[in-house]
């Protein structure tokens, strides 16, 4: 899009300039037209002015002639008449004044003295002379000398103002018309200018569009294609196809040349690449081999070192073994005497353990007896608890009975009181009965007291039984615990008996074994003495082996150094080949065959 962007910019710029120029041309033309128009109008106005002056002159001439003919006619008429009356003169002068342009008229005699005058001010006035306020000098004047004695001179004053006025108005109207026409032409010109500018804009737009289209089609497309190729080349991708076949276009020719260049380049690069890959592979192989060699030699060295060390150690060990064996043979004798002593001790232990076993079985029997007794005690405690319970119930019942007795005592008391009352009401006859009643009362009180006493006692009995019950509960719990513990004791004793029996059997076995040990230790002691002699010989042989192995180890170490040098050289080579490959790698050369085909075509 970047390329199109540039093209569009160019096109837009050129189109804009064209549009500007066209508009400028339009404005110039317009200005010229306006100037021409102004000149034309000025000319016309001048013509009108000239026409006006000419017509004014014509009109003046015509009017003067007309007035002169009128006066001549008047003179003729007066001449033709024999008798002239003053009224006739008046009439004549009035008829003169009928003309619109005539302002005043005067008839004079020979001595140039006016005898009749007429003038216009709103209406026509007739008098012998003009009033002095009338200023006649501003008007035009015609003096006519008649050859009539009565009227020597006729003076006619007239004005030309009205006609002049009319003509002026006419002229101004014409000039105005011309000006209006000019303004209308101006407006039309403005419209024309607008139309011209719109038209020119449209033409320019069409031109621009056509340019853009053609530019894109003809130039930008091939340029874009070339750009794509260039982009790929920028990525060092040489596998590009250049498909243009005809060399008609300049750009196409350029593309073809580029394609040929690419092909050559591609060939070279692919060759280099293949060689670099091969070189890298062989360098790798070499490195591996060197590495392996190095590893092997290192391993061999370490192994030989190990062997040397081990052989040294072995010889040292064998020496120490020889020493130890001698020591062992010494110790063996001491062991032999100790094992004798041990055998005696174990015998006595076995006897003691048997005795322990028999006494333990006795203890077991006793413990079982204890368990039985505890069970009986539990049963008895339960029975006692039941008895106490029944005792408590009985106490409760006794409490109820004593309450009943108390109630009876109360009743008896009331009865005795009532009896006393009855006896008293009987007076002296009831005296004896009264004594009985009081005795009953006393008895009732006593029985009440006794009942109360019983109740108190029973309460204490109840309290005691409650305590006993609690104690019995505790006692039975304790007995139960005892029972349990005696059971566990008897169980433990049984277990112990078993264990002791095992120990006893083991002790017997130990006794036998001890005897065996005694015998075998004596054998061992003899063998050890032989071994001590043999080991001394072995130690000497081992020393010899050790010195030889050290020689082997030194030669292997020399080997290792050489292999290490080879390895370093291989690594350098590998590094170099890697660098070469890295440099060549970015170039892509995969579509070679296709391009070749194109070239053939």
């Amino acid at each position: 899009m970047k390329q199109t962007g540039i093209a569009t910019k160019i096109i837009f710029l050129s189109c804009g300039i064209a549009l500007l120029l066209m508009v400028l041309g339009c404005i110039l033309v317009m200005q010229y037209e306006i100037v021409v128009l102004n000149k034309m109008t000025d000319k016309k106005v001048e013509e009108k002015e000239k026409l006006y002056l000419y017509s004014l002159y014509q009109e003046k001439k015509a009017l003067t002639e007309e007035l002169i003919t009128q006066i001549n006619d008047l003179i003729k008429m007066i001449k033709s008449v024999d008798v002239v009356y003053s009224q006739t003169f008046e009439f004549q002068i009035q008829s003169l004044l009928m003309h619109p342009m005539v302002v005043a008229a005067e008839f004079c005699k020979q001595n140039e003295q006016s005898f009749l005058a007429a003038w216009k001010s709103k209406t026509i006035h007739v008098a012998n002379a003009f009033p002095k306020e009338l200023k006649l000098k501003q008007y035009l004047m015609i003096i006519k000398h008649t050859k009539i004695p009565s009227i020597e001179i006729i003076r006619l004053y007239y004005t030309f103002e009205k006609i002049e006025h009319e003509l002026k108005a006419q002229k101004e109207r014409d000039i105005n018309d011309i000006h209006e026409t000019r303004t209308s032409i101006y407006n039309q010109l403005n419209g024309l200018f607008l139309a011209q500018s719109i038209g020119s804009f449209l033409v320019v737009a069409f031109l621009g569009a056509t340019l853009i289209f053609s530019l894109r089609w003809l130039i930008l497309k091939p340029i874009q294609y070339l750009m794509q190729i260039a982009k790929q080349l920028k990525k060092l991708d040489l596998s590009v196809d250049i498909t243009t076949t005809t060399a008609s276009h300049e750009l196409n020719a350029l593309a073809q040349a580029l394609g040929q260049l690419l092909e050559g380049f591609r060939k070279i690069i692919s060759d280099v690449k293949e060689n670099a890959t091969m070189l890298s592979g062989s360098a790798d192989n070499m490195t591996d081999i060197a590495e392996q060699l190095k590893n092997h030699s290192e391993e061999a060295e370490s192994k030989s070192n190990n062997v040397a060390e081990a052989s040294v150690q072995i010889s040292a060990n064998i020496h120490s073994i020889a020493n130890s064996v001698e020591q062992i043979s010494d110790n063996m004798e001491a062991v032999s005497s100790t094992s004798d002593y041990l055998f005696n001790n174990i015998n006595s232990v076995a006897n003691a353990i048997e005795e322990l076993s028999s006494s333990l079985s006795h203890v077991g029997e006793r413990a079982q007896n204890g368990t039985k007794i505890a069970e009986e005690a539990v049963l008895l405690a339960k029975k006692a608890g039941k008895t106490v319970n029944t005792l408590r119930h009985a106490a409760d019942e006794i409490g109820g009975v004593s309450e009943f007795i108390q109630r009876i005592a109360h009743k008896t008391n009331i009865l005795s009181l009532n009896a006393t009352i009855e006896a008293a009401s009987a007076g002296s006859a009831g005296r004896g009965f009264s004594v009985v009643a009081s005795a009953i009362q006393e008895f009732a009180e006593q029985s009440s007291r006794a009942a109360k006493d019983i109740t108190d006692r029973i309460a204490s009995v109840q309290k005691g039984t409650f305590e006993i019950e609690n104690v019995f509960k505790e006692v039975s719990a304790i007995i139960r615990e005892m029972n349990e513990s005696s059971e566990s004791i008897s169980f433990a004793v049984i277990e112990q008996t078993k264990a002791v029996q095992e120990i006893a059997s083991n002790a017997l076995e130990a006794d036998e074994r001890a005897r065996n040990i005694n015998v075998s230790i004596e054998d061992l002691s003899r063998t050890v003495n032989d071994a001590a002699d043999n080991t001394a010989q072995v130690a000497m042989g081992a020393n010899d082996v050790s010195t030889r192995i050290q020689g082997v180890s030194e030669s292997i170490s020399f080997n290792r150094q050489i292999s290490h040098q080879i390895n370093e050289a291989a690594i350098v080579l590998n590094h170099l080949s890697g660098n070469l490959k890295f440099m060549v790698d970015p170039f892509k050369v995969s579509h070679q065959s296709k391009i070749n085909n194109n070239n053939k075509e």
């Binding site: 009331i414 009532n418 009643a437």
Partner: protein, 168 residues
């Protein structure tokens, strides 16, 4: 007055001059009434309340088919009232004391026989003014009996009913 006269007549009748009282306790005090006024002592009391009656009337009680009115002696003697308990008893009086009625007492005591000489009666003074006499009418105690260790206040049973009316 009539009762007083009867007592004096009895006094004359008995040459031994011995008298019997039914004693009872009330709020820690000892009281006694003449045994001849007492008809019976009852221990199991089923009271039927009388509504709209003054608080001194506790209610009716049915004794062997006869209905008796029961008064609260505590209220008559200006003590605070107390609920009935096991020791509470009802003293029923003879019909000649008043219409059949009884009183509730806290606890019954013994029948006491004393010499007449040990009893000191209140002297009824005739010259007391009218208001004082009215006040005396409501007086329930008749006299005091001197016993060995204590004094026994002797009440007049015939004035109990009047006292109820006067209280109102």
């Amino acid at each position: 007055m009539r009762k007083f006269n009867s007592i004096t007549s009895e006094k004359k009748k008995l040459p031994e001059s011995k008298r019997q009282f039914c004693s009872f306790q009330m709020a820690g005090h000892y009281f006694g009434v003449d045994i001849l006024d007492v008809k019976e002592i009852i221990d199991e009391v089923v009271l039927t309340k009388i509504h709209h009656a003054p608080p001194e009337m506790l209610g009716f009680v049915n004794i062997r088919g006869h209905v008796h009115l029961v008064l609260d002696l505590r209220l008559l003697l200006n003590f605070s009232t107390k609920s009935i308990d096991e020791a509470s008893r009802v003293l029923l009086f003879h019909p000649n004391v008043g219409e059949s009625f009884g009183v509730m007492v806290d606890q019954i005591g013994h029948m006491i026989e004393v010499e007449e000489s040990l009893i000191e009666y209140r002297v009824s003074e005739e010259n007391i003014s009218g208001i004082a006499r009215d006040f005396r009418k409501s007086d329930l105690e008749k006299g005091v009996c001197k016993l060995k260790d204590r004094l026994l206040i002797i009440l007049d049973a015939s004035k109990f009913l009047n006292a109820v009316e006067l209280k109102r």
